[in-house]
Amino acid sequence: MVEVRPLPSADSPLVEAVDLAKHFDVSPPWLTRVLERQPRTLLKAVDGVSFAVPRGRTFSLVGESGCGKSTVARLAVGLYTPTAGRLVFDGTDLAGLNSRAAMAPVRRRLQMIFQDPFASLNPRWRVRDIVAEPIRAHGLLSETRAIDRRVGELLELVRLTAADGQKYPHEFSGGQRQRISIARALASNPEFLVCDEPTSALDVSVQAQILNLMKDLQRELGLTYLFISHDLAVVYHISDYVGVMYLGRLVEWGEARSLFRKPQHPYTRMLLDAIPDLEMTGRRRIPVRGEVPSPMNPPSGCHFYPRCPFANERCRAEVPLSITLPHGGEVRCHAVEEGRLTEAAVRQALGRGASAP
């Protein structure tokens, strides 16, 4: 498929996904399949996704639920092994490391923050043991006192106090628990953090605290983030680069600012149109139409064509390849490639030109 071209402003990327794919076998049991003559059913959760995350930057993946963004997160930390493609972390292909021993040195350098702060901490462990788990697992420190000191430092790094280590997770609020999660993720001095919707289970006010903490930590520790979210406001706040996923494919990716200012792909445009904001109040807007089709039986050609106002016969038949945009970034859309998406056509289709009531 398409070669990955580094974005213009990028240094050498720390993490690079090349045609990454993950297919889940969701077939009925073997006997049922034989008796009822059903073929194997594959769910293509991730289908040829390529992106690169430069060192010290934040790359966000956005998309509706079920589009495969969490699967990418789990592929990135090695919880899943890819069906095809490569995931290169600082020069090593994670898919090639199939034993735990081979994985160990890389494991220390990449960590994950999970969505649900109530499920991601073992309810029976004290916080200090939770935070110390990576230190003990990798044998980074051996003395109890040294571990305690390090745990205290980590808790203070996420703006908690060292004394909080004595407590159990259920004594904390959601935001505080997410801080504990971050402290645990930072315990092994990782360079790369995968954040799978770290703020979607939190209140809006707490969301901002966690996001700002993550930004501060990125600046202080030089962290690289892969950020998964469906919340575009959060993504705009934290990202340097954004990729938009639709049904297992990356439809558009580029620098956050230009992607938000000049969205190219019809799906990106519709997503951005769906953000509620005060300025647009009272204006007529076209919501994202329809539902995401089932990934078990995706549409032919461009996955988005059934919901796309600009689709034609070519979109139905042919999978669009990615094209580089003049201002950087890439998009996979026939209409963009053919220049069919003129401002007038878009305005017409999306109803942006409609007069205010």
Binding site: G78, M103, R107, S120, L121, P123, A137
Partner: protein, 326 residues
């Protein structure tokens, strides 16, 4: 969301003293727990617990409590056989619950018998628990063909009555072990036989809970950290599956005691020289229709009382640990 087992005495942090920074004593923690509260609110449970405790103490201190030593052939007087309860024996001794055919005091035999029954029951449950938990954890956590293999074996075994499996294992063991070995080993063979016939339900429960737990994010976090799968199973998953296992183990204890009694009643369990409750019932059964009812009745009552009490305790534990019923 509910934290599994947060009402158990192990979740200590809920105690006010803990929040103030002082670790409370174990007793204070127990007194403060929901489990203790629900225990004291259920008179049947308290009575059951007392009966089980009495049996335990009786069994433990049998050599000191029992009026006679039924294992000592020298002290037996065959002429005292078939003395009815409270009746005057030939030798002038008085026996509260009568004597059996060989002149053994039934009360003493019950105390000593409960000792063997409880020992076999406990060890069998422990054996079944360790085996079932290990296989269940392995099946649930690893999945794939290991899971299929273990669970198919479990299914096959479940399709036979447990007592039949125990009989089979006992028979095989008797046939393979050298004869000189058998007398000493018979209790351990019994324990293994009952344990092997009973591991399936532990494995099934643990497997189910493990499959739920392993998809929780804290287990995934441990996997991302790179913790060894063995340690994840033991330190993350195991403590969170112990609640249901504890309930099954309690009810399983009653079942194991009954299984031991059944095997002994069928004559394949412990030998008559060191009788368990089941052996006593079998001995008495021979004389039931000739009028010596006490030889079988009292061990039988003891067995019913013990099994019932343990069962009621298990029922209470199941309800007390079930957050939906509180």
């Amino acid at each position: 969301m509910s934290v599994p087992g947060r009402n158990s005495p192990t979740s200590v942090a809920r105690h006010p003293a803990e929040r103030a920074g002082r670790p409370p004593s174990a007793l204070a923690r127990l007194r403060d727990s929901d489990l203790w509260y629900s225990f004291t609110r259920s008179p049947i449970t308290v009575i059951s617990a007392l009966i089980v405790l009495l049996f335990f103490l009786g069994a433990l201190f049998a050599p000191w409590i029992a009026p006679y030593n039924p294992f000592d052939p020298a002290s037996l007087n065959l002429m005292d056989g078939f003395t009815p309860p409270m009746g005057e024996a030939f030798s002038g001794n008085s026996y509260l619950l009568g004597t059996d055919d060989q002149g053994r005091d039934v009360l003493s035999a019950i105390l000593y018998g409960a000792r063997i029954s409880l020992f076999v029951g406990f060890c069998a449950v422990l054996f079944a628990m360790v085996l079932g938990i290990s296989l269940g954890l392995l099946a649930g956590y690893k999945g794939g063909w290991i899971d299929s293999l273990i669970m198919r074996i479990a299914d096959v075994q479940l399709s036979f009555p447990a007592i039949l499996v125990a009989l089979l294992i006992f028979g095989v063991a008797r046939a393979t072990l050298p004869r000189s070995f058998q007398e000493d080993m018979v209790i351990y063979v019994l324990i293994v036989a009952i344990g092997l016939s009973d591991w399936v339900q532990y494995a099934r429960t643990v497997r189910g809970t493990t499959m739920v737990e392993k998809n929780k994010e804290y287990v995934q976090a441990a996997r991302v950290i790179g913790v060894h799968p063995m340690l994840i199973m033991l330190r993350h998953v195991l403590p969170n599956v112990m609640g249901p296992v504890l309930v099954i183990a309690t009810i399983g204890l009653a079942l194991a005691i009954i299984a031991e009694a059944t095997l002994s009643f069928l004559g394949v369990g412990v030998p008559p020289t060191t009788p368990s409750l089941g052996t006593l019932i079998r001995i008495g059964n021979d004389y039931l229709f000739s009028g010596e009812w006490w030889i079988t009745l009292f061990p039988g009552l003891a067995l019913i009382l013990l099994a019932l009490s343990v069962n009621l305790l298990g029922d209470w534990l199941r309800d007390a640990l079930n957050p939906k019923l509180r």
